[in-house]
Symmetry: C2
Subunit: 199 residues, 2 copies
């Protein structure tokens, strides 16, 4: 099914939605590595060329399926560029500012779907592991990089749950700067401390 | 409506459920302090004496409405009893062990309802503020006790999200001891550090 050339973004139609839904099921079931364009196409009962037409690559359809509002290939290197010093504060500040901005609105929807559905949870787990934590971990020259990145992620998710979902004060009304000051040293310790067990 | 004396716990019936549902709406709307037995009874269209019959007090119906699987009046003093030293690790260990146990099963349901419903979020916020963080904060002889307790809560909720909802490794399979070692120093810093902004 070719899209009529009306100037609409390719893929606002029902075929694109059907492929995305199939991709969510497929990746949740088999994971990213074992996932294939062919498998998604079969699940959606469309030709594989249509999947490529709409999303370009397996990576592309995976990112679209997760609907993560930011591109980790951009923001992770940006946060790392100034060096490890102050990385914790930068990470918290960036995360809170993004979430507070219009770009953050899909994040709440993402949390809702992850909590409601094991498939969505598997998809986000795969995405965050590969795209965010993987990048972060490979840039850190420390032991246990995956553990460290996961602990940093737990800090950010916990803050988001209290600030945006439960809306607990004083976290709900605090500024990004305040949150960066409170939580930054924690993230910094997780990512860079020589001994993770020391306070 | 009197319960027949069948040996069942009082309140397995529809009237109890109706009151609980009314209490959730009522407390979510007006908060605990402004909430009244009379208001709950009106919302449920029952006599106020029935609310007391089933739940004993405003506190009782509030706790039942939140359906928190543990009694903070018990566990908070127990955790504090050995002193502030090591409190962070004890708190994390207790939280993870509880969540891993059968008593923890309702916690996942609680997270689901909180993420799905603003009323449930308001109820949990009120409960955690008053019953858990309030107790903890008043036992800590530090500045900004509410902030400190909230930050500690964010650590625990973030860990729970990754371990139980998103099931991200290595946090998902780590032992309570390991989690206590990794996260304990963070919680300890939040609760007791002289300067919250230092790592």
């Amino acid at each position: 099914m070719a899209m009529p050339r009306t100037g609409r973004r390719p893929g606002a139609g029902p075929t694109r939605s059907k492929i995305l839904s199939a991709a969510r099921t497929h990746f949740a079931r088999v994971g990213f590595d074992a996932g294939t364009i062919r498998g998604i196409a079969a699940e959606a009962a469309v030709d594989p060329s249509l999947v490529l037409h709409y999303f370009g690559s397996k990576d592309g359809v995976f990112r679209a399926a997760v609907d993560f509002p930011l591109d980790p290939a951009q923001f992770v290197p940006q946060l790392l560029a100034p060096g490890l010093d102050g990385l914790g504060e930068r990470l918290v500040h960036f995360f809170v500012e993004t979430w507070d901005s219009p770009a953050g609105r899909p994040l709440l929807a993402l949390i809702r779907s992850v909590v409601a559905s094991a498939d969505a949870a598997a998809l986000l787990r795969e995405f965050v592991s590969r795209e965010v934590l993987g990048r972060l971990a490979s840039a850190l020259e420390v032991d246990q990089p995956q553990l460290r990145a996961s602990l940093a992620a737990s800090t950010l998710i916990g803050a988001a749950m209290l600030r945006y979902v439960i809306e607990l004060e004083p976290l709900a009304s605090a500024s990004p700067d305040e949150l960066a000051v409170w939580l930054g040293p924690t993230v910094q310790r997780y990512l860079t401390a020589h001994d993770l067990t020391a306070g």
